[in-house]
């Protein structure tokens, strides 16, 4: 039997490795393929892949195995709680994963113990090891591992071909027959992965606003771009909400719709009342009946559908938000105690997205200005503010706080009283005419005006406070400061990312609150977000200039996600919870008319189910899990225990990171010390023998401070200078380390 895969293999570039597998499987009669055992991504592979491009990553692998026997290991507490693959889900979580860091740090220490002659041999064997490791992984793991290798494409393709060859070799030898279970799973897993791939490709086709985002990023940089990406994310989120509600609630409602008798006047677009009240836009329109088109056919209970759809929607929202927040936190968390200085600004934050010439020049100018300012601040001494100046600062801070809090309280009180009295003063509910409808607009208008002007007032206060810092010492007098803050800022304004993102979060909160009573609100929100996108984009292009200071985008976006989740979403959940459990639904309209609370629909349903023996398990789950406090108590205790465990793990790893950092510093000191010693030896070698006798004493005194045993070893070890072999260097390093540790212990 000839394997077709041979000729397919000759041009592997025409296939994915997956199609090769399909070909292989089809052409074989017996399933003798080993396929991939449950993946086994070892540390060796990870350390191998972090190596230099074109260099020998093998050395890093060798050092990894040496690590276990190295002298340094006894200093480090081994925190082996979760041995996660470095290429698992926490790829970017470098701050909490010591293993990849260790593997990464090893190539540098290997310089000390390098032997040039063994490099060539070890490279080949280590490459074989890498190929072997890759061959034993599952397909998706292998693809990920190859993608992440820091090699050029040719090398990666070579390695991939070798791996595929290895796999086919293995299968030909008929080794390692897996259980039929795993083989049986391979087929569906493969097709699932291909389906996922094609789905991802179609999603990429969507690429909403890709061109616009590219232009915005090119001119204004990543920080402003992050606002628009957040907006796009919220839009897709609302699309998902809309589809769920539309599918499960609105479409069935169309089958039981009542005719709309109200005439359409233009005012509905502003008030939302009138004609729209009798459409699917509002809760009141939905029927409370059980819809069934066909007599005795499948029926659709509207009450249950409504409450379950809204409930499950919020549960899914919760999970999505939790996962995004966790992912964002993972990627962007930095220890707030670490100092971020010039180095990071220089090397890590140049924005490669900016491709507009003017923007690049501007950014370069800003960077040079910032650097100059920093250098000036370093040269200047720390200013001691006089008591009077400090007092003035405190007073200004207090006044700003009082003003902002007072305004907020006043605005809230005003809105509250207006909403209560609005009904009494202006609206006559029985006359459903134009005037009374227009009067209902008063409250929204007032609220919008407050929302527009109060933030402006707050940013003015912020300007006022900012000019008090010593960094702006050119503004000496207070009057000059106030004047500068009051006048319009010179030149075009910058795009205020913080304020805009908070507005988005506010709008999304409103949508969530309203979803219970207006299921299609996400649809309206989508339209509004699209309009906002274009308006903001146009105003950005025409009015704004790129931001001056590098804005810590990643951390701010994390905190915005956090804001979206905690105050916003959790608040909404509480409001909805109270509404569903406690409030009596309207008697005249809506799917819950006549019930004592919305939740009563579910309890009634459960009572009905108790009558049927087939659904006893549903009743059991309901009474013992959902309505029982004990279950939730146990769940909470479990979550708390797991949280505590993870917290302890984090603490342990922080300690380990500190120790490792100390170790690196020590190794650096060792290196410098040894190099110095080697230089001295070289000098000794070059001086004539007579002088050497006399000079013998001086080099050793330099090493005297490093511990008592050292100079003797040195003097005994040196002959006519030929003994500076690497083995001696290793011995010297170990003794130096010992001596340094005695020193540390003395100081502790």
């Amino acid at each position: 039997m000839s394997y077709h895969y041979n000729e397919a293999f000759e041009n592997p570039d025409y296939h994915f490795s997956e199609t090769l597998e399909i070909d292989r499987r089809r052409s074989s009669q017996k399933n003798l393929f080993p396929h991939q055992s449950p993946y086994d991504s070892s540390l060796h592979v990870s350390s191998g892949e972090h190596s230099g491009r074109g260099q020998n990553y093998p050395l890093a692998v060798r050092m990894a195995s040496m690590r276990h026997g190295s002298e340094y290991s006894r200093d480090l507490p081994r925190v082996n709680v979760l041995s996660r693959s470095p290429y698992g889900k926490s790829t970017d979580n470098l701050s909490f994963e010591p293993e990849p860091e260790l593997a990464l740090s090893l190539p540098s220490t290997s310089h000390l113990l390098d032997r040039p002659d063994t490099r060539g041999i070890s490279a080949v064997s280590e490459e074989e090891k890498l190929v072997g490791d890759l061959a034993s992984m599952s397909t998706s793991e292998r693809i990920k591992a190859i993608q992440k290798m820091p090699e050029n494409m040719k090398k990666k393709r070579e390695i991939r071909n070798k791996v595929l060859k290895e796999i086919t070799e293995k299968s030909r030898r008929g080794r390692a027959q897996l259980s039929c279970c795993t083989q049986w799973l391979q087929g569906p897993a493969l097709s699932f992965r291909r389906f996922g791939n094609s789905l991802a490709e179609y999603f990429h086709l969507l690429r909403l606003w890709h061109g616009t985002l590219k232009i915005i990023g090119a001119e204004f940089g990543t920080s402003v771009l992050s606002y628009f990406i957040f907006l796009k994310w919220l839009l897709t989120f609302n699309l998902f909400s809309f589809l769920i509600n539309f599918g499960f609630i609105t479409i069935p409602q169309f089958f039981a719709a009542e005719p709309n008798n109200v005439s359409f006047t233009g005012l509905e677009l502003f008030t939302g009342a009138g004609y729209f009240q009798q459409t699917v836009l509002y809760y009141g329109f939905y029927t409370n009946a059980t819809i069934s088109k066909i007599k005795n056919g499948p029926s659709y209970n509207m009450q249950l559908a409504y409450i379950f759809t809204v409930g499950i929607y919020f549960a899914i929202c919760f999970l999505i938000l939790l996962l995004s927040m966790a992912k964002s936190f993972c990627r962007n968390f930095i220890n707030p105690q670490t100092y971020s200085g010039n180095a990071i600004r220089l090397l890590c934050t140049w924005d490669f997205n900016i491709t507009n010439e003017k923007a690049v020049k501007l950014k370069q100018k800003n960077l040079s200005t910032q650097i100059k300012e920093d250098l000036m601040e370093v040269n200047r001494e720390v200013l001691n503010l006089s008591v009077r100046e400090r007092l003035v600062r405190i007073v200004i801070h207090l006044v700003s706080w009082a003003a902002s809090l007072g305004t907020a309280v006043a605005a809230c009180a005003g809105v509250y009283f207006l909403s209560i009295n609005n009904a009494k003063l202006f609206v006559n509910w029985h006359k459903n005419d134009l005037e009374s409808q227009a009067a209902t607009l008063l409250l929204p208008i007032v609220t919008s005006l407050l929302n527009t002007f109060i933030p402006l007032f707050y940013s003015w206060l912020g300007h006022l406070e900012r000019f008090q810092t010593p960094g702006y010492q050119i503004y000496v007098t207070i009057t000059r400061i106030i004047g500068t803050a009051v006048c319009a800022s010179w030149g075009p304004p910058e795009f205020d990312i913080g304020r805009n993102v908070l507005e988005l979060i506010y709008v999304q909160t409103l949508t969530w609150i309203g979803i219970l009573f207006s299921p299609l609100l996400p649809g309206i929100q989508m339209i509004s977000f699209s309009i906002v996108f274009y308006v903001k984009k146009v105003s950005l292009m025409m009015n704004c200039q790129p931001p001056r200071k590098a804005w810590r985008t990643a951390q701010m976006m994390t905190s915005f996600m956090f804001l979206l989740f905690f105050p916003s979403f959790v608040g909404v959940l509480s409001v909805i919870g109270v509404t569903v459990w406690r409030l009596k639904p309207s008697e005249e309209c809506g799917p819950f008319r006549g019930l004592s609370s919305m939740y009563a629909a579910v309890s009634n349903w459960i009572k009905i189910l108790e009558g049927y023996t087939a659904s006893k398990w549903v009743v059991w789950i309901y009474s013992n899990l959902i309505t029982s406090a004990l279950f939730f108590f146990i769940l909470s205790v479990l979550v708390l225990i797991i949280t505590y465990l993870y917290w302890q793990i984090i603490e342990g790893r922080k300690t380990m990171a500190k120790l490792l950092r100390k170790q690196i510093i020590n190794e650096g000191k060792d290196k410098i010390f040894l190099l110095e010693k080697l230089r001295v030896l070289q000098r000794v070698k070059q001086t004539p023998p007579v002088l050497r006798e006399q000079g013998r004493q001086s080099p050793y005194s330099a090493g005297g401070s490093r511990g008592t045993g050292f100079p003797q070893a040195w003097s005994s070890g040196t002959g006519p200078g030929s003994s500076t072999s690497a083995a001696e260097a290793l011995a010297l390093a170990l003794r130096a380390r010992e001596a340094a540790q005695w020193e540390d212990e003395d100081y502790d």
């Binding site: 570039d13 491009r53 970017d92 990464l104 985002l213 971020s340 490669f352 040079s368 990643a554």
Partner: protein, 182 residues
């Protein structure tokens, strides 16, 4: 994809792009020099585009580091790129690439003399490129000293890959700034 005869050898498993994106990138590559780049890559032609064409792409032409980027990703280190190098470059600079990979290549980009360390001369060149030579030599010197003082953990006077990666951990913005959208 231009016509049914176009057959690009798909390196899907080796980059972070999907098949359609690879084809789109091939079109971009071909647009740089349609007479040099054949439509049919079946025979794996050894076509290299000179650096001047690569550096004239709108995504790269204003980037102060475009020459270093091309040199790092090209096979011979001279800035002339084959299709493989081209795909590799945009794959690493895409948003799907993990942080380690990006840090590795960023380090190579800033390492002007290719000695696997960012020494003071490399830093000086970087500063000058970032500020368009607006700082005086004394200021540049001061800045470089500060950077080495802050970032050099093992105290050898230059930044190794590990020092650089240690710094990257403290700059979560790196993932989004070291990114070119194509």
């Amino acid at each position: 994809m231009k016509g049914p005869i176009c057959k690009v050898y798909l390196s899907q498993d080796c980059t972070f792009f999907t098949r359609k994106e690879i084809l789109r990138l091939f079109d971009r590559y071909r647009d740089l020099a349609p007479q040099l780049v054949p439509l049919d890559y079946t025979g794996k032609p050894a076509v290299t585009l000179p650096y001047e064409l690569i550096g004239s792409m709108p995504e790269l032409k204003d980037n102060p580091f475009r020459q270093r980027i091309a040199e790092v990703f090209s096979e011979n280190g001279d800035g002339n790129m084959t299709l493989d190098d081209f795909l590799d470059m945009f794959s690493v600079l895409s948003e799907m690439a993990p942080r380690d990979l990006k840090a590795y290549y960023a380090f190579k980009i800033y390492d002007f003399n290719n000695d696997d360390y960012i020494c003071k001369s490399d830093l000086e060149k970087t500063v000058n490129k970032l500020t368009r030579n607006e700082l005086t030599p004394e200021e540049v010197n001061l800045v470089c000293d500060k950077v080495i003082y802050e970032a050099d953990v093992d105290n050898d006077g230059k930044l190794s890959l590990e020092d650089f990666q240690h710094m990257i951990i403290r700059a979560p913005d790196f993932l989004s700034t070291f990114h070119i959208r194509i």
